[in-house]
């Protein structure tokens, strides 16, 4: 059973374009992988098969379509081989069908490398708005995330997330130690594009003074405005009504005139005879 699943996973993940052109199976999941462990270039194995090689910190994969199920992921030093020592190992990682998941290799609060799957919110966003998701994946204590100087998300801890739908636009974001003004990361300008989910990861290690932000953007959740209210005066309607009245008058007038003319000329003709 397991080998079947591996075969299916690798076929789908590594298939030529022609095969992928077929409609995706309903139970497939969209999976991206983010490397957020400072310093180590790694290889990633899924169910014993190589998935990524020379994967560098601060980089993110394009989304992979994977059948739903459970996966055994193993991260090794680059070039260590499938049998090499695991930097991180996570077995029976659940990938729910239809979900959009980002698997993050990062440090725990205590500084130990771990793998955490986050399910991304890809629900429809109201017109004019953008979603921001913040994830604490750093070896650091609880933080507040501030937008334009105001705490937007408070007391966020590793490995948790917070999110909100905000008016689309650029914000200046920074990360402070929870309840303080001590800036740990940033500030950085974030362009929150309408209809997208901008996912911001705080990663690295406070002790090693290499805390950073990583950004992932998911698009396609936009919706249309509720309508186009393109007239409030009524003058155009009034002008049209006026011209309608004039039009009916012209129609009736012309009909009466023509009818009358014919009638009169007929009577004259009869009388003349």
């Amino acid at each position: 059973m397991k080998s079947l699943r591996i075969a299916a996973a690798t076929t789908l993940a590594l298939a030529p374009a022609a095969f992928l052109a077929a409609p995706a199976h309903a139970a497939d999941a969209t999976v991206s992988i983010l490397h957020a462990v400072p310093g180590a270039t790694v290889d990633v194995y899924a169910n014993g098969k190589p998935l990524l090689t020379d994967f560098k910190p601060g980089t993110l994969t394009d989304p992979l379509m994977l059948p739903e199920g459970t996966y055994d992921l193993k991260v090794t030093q680059a070039g260590a081989g499938a049998g090499g020592a695991a930097v991180i190992e996570a077995n029976d990682l659940k990938v729910p069908g239809g979900a959009n998941v980002t698997v993050v290799a990062h440090l725990s609060e205590a500084g130990k490398p771990v793998l955490t799957p986050f399910v991304n919110d890809t629900s429809t966003i109201d017109a004019g708005k953008a979603r921001i998701t913040v994830r604490h994946t750093a070896a650091a204590p609880a933080v507040d995330v501030r937008a334009n100087g105001t705490a937007a998300f408070k007391n966020l801890t590793n490995p948790n997330e917070a999110k909100a739908d905000l008016p689309a636009g650029t914000i200046s974001a920074d990360v402070v130690l929870a309840g303080t003004d001590t800036v740990a990361i940033g500030p950085a300008d974030l362009d929150l594009k309408e209809g997208t989910n901008t996912i911001v990861y705080a990663w690295g290690s406070a002790a090693d003074k290499n805390l950073k932000l990583a950004v992932q953007t998911l698009s396609g959740m936009h919706s249309a405005p509720g309508g186009v209210p393109a007239g409030a005066g009524g003058q155009a309607a009034a002008a049209r009504e006026t011209s309608e009245v004039a039009r009916y008058a012209a129609v009736i007038g012309a009909a009466a005139a023509a009818g009358g003319l014919v009638l009169v000329s007929r009577r004259r003709a009869v009388r003349a005879r």
Binding site: P50, G220, P225, G226, A230, A239, A254, V270
Partner: protein, 249 residues
């Protein structure tokens, strides 16, 4: 003998029914004149194709709102960039991608109708509807949607038909557009020409907004204003006039 006795069936019948024939002729003339005047003064809206053909009513083909439109995407699907043989997924820096975007539109010109209006970027009003410039003298461009020159999707330009204290805006004339008429949209140094493909009036209750504001599909220009009947209490029209145009190469 026959000649003197029988005046011929046609003539005798004609003479017998002379008064009623006169009335019939008069009525026919009245009808003809009435229809003629009605036709000459007909509303140009009457020449519009039925709304169902517009492609922006709910009954139209599911151009938007289908799964593909809203399927969340980011980047290219795995493997599609490698045409043959196994390829690992693409990897890129986890930073915000700064894509080059075309300039925003700033001028709408329709020479045949004498329309030459400033275009300003607009978004969404508090009630969730498209926000339009207050003055009917200006056109709003829905800035979250595609720009002129983008590869896919519909650029939406909309202006008020009328406004208290202003009167009727220049955009009111778009109802007179015919298939093939040229619309010019300027974006900075670049002017792009579009050919009108349809002019339709659609009741707001049946308008397919997802199709009107499509972010995918062929690159199109949608020029929108109001039409139909005006509700004096709500200060709203009950229909939209939609002009659809495609880029001219």
């Amino acid at each position: 003998m026959n000649r003197t006795v029988d005046p011929g069936p046609g003539r005798s019948r004609a003479r017998a029914s002379s008064p009623s024939r006169g009335v019939a002729a008069a009525l026919a003339a009245a009808l003809l004149a009435g229809v003629g005047v009605a036709w000459l003064t007909r509303d140009s809206d009457a020449a519009l194709p039925p709304a169902s053909e517009s492609g922006v009513t709910r009954s139209a083909a599911p151009t938007a709102g289908d799964a593909a439109t809203h399927a969340p995407q980011s980047g290219s699907p795995a493997g599609t960039d490698g045409s043959a043989g196994p390829t690992p997924p693409g990897v890129r820096p986890a930073t915000q991608q700064v894509g080059a975007t075309a300039a925003a539109p700033d001028r709408l010109t329709i020479r045949r109708l004498g329309i030459d209006m400033r275009v300003v970027p607009v978004g969404v009003a508090r009630d969730g509807e498209m926000a339009l410039p207050e003055t009917p003298a200006q056109v709003g461009w829905y800035r979250y949607g595609p720009r002129p020159g983008d590869d896919a999707g519909s650029t939406v330009l909309a202006a008020h038909l009328d406004m208290p204290g202003y009167g009727i805006g220049p955009i009111a004339a778009v109802g007179e557009l015919r298939t093939g008429d040229v619309i010019t949209v300027r974006s900075g140094d670049v002017s792009r020409r579009y050919a009108v493909t349809s002019v339709t009036q659609v009741r707001k209750t049946t308008l397919d907004l997802a199709a009107l504001f499509a972010r995918d599909g062929p690159p199109l220009l949608h020029v929108v204003t109001c039409g139909g009947d005006f509700d004096r209490e709500q200060r709203r029209y009950d229909a939209n006039v939609l002009v659809s145009a495609e880029p001219l190469r």
